[in-house]
Amino acid sequence: MSTHTIMTRYTRLLWILAAFGSLSFTRSVQAVPSFARQTGMACEACHTVFPELTHFGRMFKANGYTLDNLKPVRDVDSSRQELLSLSGLPPLSVMIEISETWLDSPLPDGTGGPGHSQTSTTGFPQQLSLFYAGKVAPHVGAMVQLTYANDSGTLGIDNTDIRYANLLLLPQDSSLVYGISLNNNPTVQDLWNSTPAWGFPFTSTNAAVSPLAAAQLDGTLAQDVAGISAYIMWQEAVYAEFGVYRSAKQGVTNPITGAAGPLDGTISNVISGVAPYGRLAYERQWQRHDLEVGVYGATFKLLPGGGTASAPASLSGPVNEFRDLAEDFQYQFAGESHLFTLSGTHIHESMRLNASVLNASAANASDSLNTTRLTATYYYRRKIGASFQYFSTTGTTDASLYAPGAAPGVVTSANGRPDTGGWISEINYLPWLNTKLTLQHTHYDRFNGGTSNYDGFGRNASANDSTYLLFWIAF
């Protein structure tokens, strides 16, 4: 086997692993009780049902998580200049997810190791997270999450958003909130639940098979980048943000020195330079209704990397360019007993795969990918609720990018198409506002380009259907 072939397969494998890793991580999002302890306000002030935000929750976030009613530890100088305003209580929280997942059909024996595959997987815990979530200093707040996940078996940095925010009082008592977010996942800083990082499904199994294709903005780079963005929100209605992202890979070391440091050519999908990110949104409230419409987008130039320690690829030269442009909307109805949310997003990704074409991991110089999600959620008295989501990803056929693999298939595509689509249905029961019992079913109409025998080894799309029972508590 030639070095070139090894590199191509290695690069492809890294793409797949990156997609898997990001999907399992970014679909776990939260509401954080330390915010409630800090503000003295109930969960319902900021959430319809966690983790979906209300308008108040969005403004709490835009204002940098700093609203509080705790008596701080203070220090001032002789001119009354404030030197310190430290929360009397550290804003710590714990979140635990315990789950059971049943696949519609077991994976072929031998997938992931010798022996017979089970159809069910228990996560105990699926995820255990520790948060620092709250005010750090006047104008500065943070939501930092450390997560142990049972699939990785390690503790790692999860979603992180550190903010500075302030307010300009304009004439006629109108307001302009402005701030800066330092974060590690494009859209984790966003205020609405229609964008990828905080979108439905808020959590999902990590024990099922995930499809091959996902846009870069759709969680693919989560926790592997560092971004800084500046934002404004005028009159709690018009939101604009612009920022840039750099690679900040987790869990990688330089193969020669064994230490963390400048990334080398064995690391795949390193951002070349910085990736610009932008967001515009408009929110309008009337009566019990709240509607948001917006656009967001980013351009990522990624160095494919790959190779081995002895023969690394170069972190220079041709790049793969991904231009993601997305629209989103969110409608919320908040009655006394009935709560309803409808949200959706459409992400169009244009790819120019110059680097991948050169190393034969893509067949086309230009591909596109379209992802659509439409979600409806209903809750009765924040106790019992249900959600339904239609999801669809379609794109250009590319026999190298979405290539057929060796037996047993499962995570490959026989026809080189990325098309995946289906439904997620979910019912929830909350005995307490910080405790959720979820039963979620995911059904695939198509998977990696096909309905039946999508991988060329006899597996049908619906074989990857899963049923997921989750106990989710945060305190």
Partner: protein
């Protein structure tokens, strides 16, 4: 201390920290109106709307409400003696760090705002509501609301303005008086005789004013 300097010193520690009790008490009274305006815009307005004109009917209109009443309610929230559901869920936390001085300034800020224009509703309900509000219902033991709140529901220093208030908020308060979650003896006496339809009629009438 100049207002501008006060704002610098307090910064948004005042706005976002709601003006901690000890901090506000150290500041001269002339800075409080400015601080109250900032707190109102930065924090209160998210639910109660710009200048107290709330959009969401869950949250009461504060514009034009009497300062005495607003101050008493803020103090009751801070003391955790007003116990209707949204008071517990929202305002106990919100009012916790407010000083008496800042509460007073906030009450003055909202009472000085232009009150909300009424919203028309179902004509039959408005007629029934007007009847109960102005004349009471002797058969059900309901006294006329106008006796305390005024014939135009503009309220007094002691009794709140009700004209133009949201139906949803008024209904929730009447139910809270009825079941004593909001423990006000005089209003419990009034609300205990109102059935749900009558409550809705009175609230619809008041919203229309």
């Amino acid at each position: 201390m100049h207002v501008r300097k006060l704002a610098c010193v307090m910064g948004l520690a005042g706005v976002l920290n709601l003006g901690a009790r000890h901090a506000a008490s150290e500041e001269p009274p002339d800075g409080l109106p400015s601080l109250a305006a900032r707190v109102a815009v930065a924090t209160c307005a998210t639910c109660h709307g710009p200048r107290g004109q709330s959009v969401q009917p869950k949250f009461p209109v504060l514009a034009g409400q009497h300062a005495n009443y607003l101050l008493a309610q803020l103090q009751a929230f801070r003391a955790q003696t007003r116990g209707d559901p949204d008071a517990i869920g929202y305002m106990w936390g919100m009012a916790g760090p407010l000083s008496d001085e800042l509460m007073g300034a906030l009450a003055d800020y909202y009472s000085a705002q232009t009150s909300r224009r009424g919203e028309q509703g179902d004509a039959a309900q408005i007629a029934r509501g007007r009847q109960i509000y102005q004349n009471g219902d002797s058969n059900a033991g309901i006294p006329p609301c106008a006796a305390c709140h005024g014939s135009g529901a503009a309220g007094t220093d002691t009794y709140p303005r009700l004209a133009g208030q949201h139906v949803q908020y008024l209904l929730k308060q009447l139910r809270s008086f009825q079941n004593n979650m909001r423990n006000v003896a005089i209003m419990h006496g009034v609300a205990k005789g109102l059935n749900d339809a009558d409550m809705r009629a009175v609230a619809t009438y008041l919203q229309s004013l």
